[in-house]
């Protein structure tokens, strides 16, 4: 369902639930001066405030493209900074978990050091995975 469907369905709902067809409306307008007045108000407004004028030039102003461009730049920087923070937080959490699990093991057995190194490399790979995914998604440098 697109936006046009939504508008048509809204109009249909208005007609059906108001229990009025176009014929009913025309008949009622012929009899009711208040509603005729209301219909007249809609017509007057359409003349005085043409509804087609839908951009800022029609509203009497022009867009400040230079300011918009710098706002876009700022927005992109904020997005990138947020993504970096997310990656950093992930790395910090991963490092914390690794330390919590492997440091006690290392204290018990020096042989665990080798295992720790293996796991460390896996951890680094795991840490860089989201960065590579982000790069691939965006198609540029992080």
């Amino acid at each position: 369902m697109n936006r046009e469907c939504e508008k048509v369905r809204e109009a249909l709902l208005d007609m059906v639930y108001a229990d009025a067809s176009m014929g009913d409306i025309a008949r009622h307008l012929a009899e009711c001066s208040e509603c005729r007045d209301y219909a007249g108000a809609l017509a007057d407004i359409a003349v005085v405030l043409p509804a087609q004028q839908d951009d800022c030039a029609a509203a009497g102003v022009s867009s400040d493209w230079a300011r918009l461009s710098s706002t876009i730049e700022r927005g992109v920087k904020l997005r990138i900074a947020r993504e970096r923070r997310a990656v950093g937080l992930f790395a910090l959490t991963a490092a914390g978990i690794l330390a919590a699990v492997w440091i006690p093991l290392l204290a018990r057995s020096p042989q665990a050091l080798l295992t720790l190194q293996a796991v460390g490399f896996s951890g680094i790979a795991l840490f860089y995975l989201p960065i590579h995914v982000l790069r691939a998604r965006r198609g540029d440098d992080i």
Partner: protein, 177 residues
């Protein structure tokens, strides 16, 4: 022009060209709506810039179910409401209590009517003006307006109805027809 959904997808990957293209189309629309709603070009520009920044930062939250311009205007109206709240808090008490809420908004934002259309819309209170502008100029559905201004659909209908009656009276009073 490239499909809006594709542009948004590219924009979500921080593609600056896509963002520029997206706002090249939608920014004038947004600014036009805000000028009509606030009645002040400078305030409208500030709100529009704030809204653009918020939209970019929160681009993930946009769902292509609605038009991008509709989503953008919704963000802008939230920004505008926040500014009005802040302005009301910062106003001297006598301005609020003596002149009423709408005059307080006018005072806070330095509203200036520059044309018949602008001054006609200025005759409406802020809540009725928002509803009228979104329906009349931008063809929002009742539900979209309700989401944008944060009130039930029934309230939207009654505000629209009141706005139409008030505009009719104002048009007659000024002898515009």
């Amino acid at each position: 022009m490239p499909d809006e959904t594709l542009l948004v997808e590219r924009a979500k990957r921080n593609d600056r060209d896509a963002l520029e293209e997206l706002f090249r189309v939608n920014y004038p629309l947004l600014l036009g709506a805000l000028v009509r709603i606030t009645g002040d070009a400078r305030a409208a520009e500030d709100v529009a810039q704030d809204a653009v920044l918020r939209a970019i930062v929160n681009l993930e939250k946009y769902e292509p179910r609605a038009k991008f311009s509709t989503w953008l205007i919704t963000i802008a109206l939230n920004t505008y409401r926040n500014r009005l709240r802040r302005a009301r808090r910062e106003l001297p008490t006598e301005h609020v209590s003596v002149a009423g809420v709408d005059s307080a908004e006018d005072f806070a934002l330095g509203r200036l009517a520059t044309s018949d259309a602008a001054s006609l819309l200025g005759a409406l209170s802020a809540d009725k003006r928002q509803v009228f502008v979104l329906k009349h100029y931008y063809g929002f559905t009742y539900q979209e307006i309700a989401d944008a201004v944060g009130c039930p659909v029934g309230t939207v209908r009654s505000r629209l109805h009141d706005a139409i009656q008030m505009l009719r009276r104002e048009i007659a009073r000024r002898g515009l027809i």
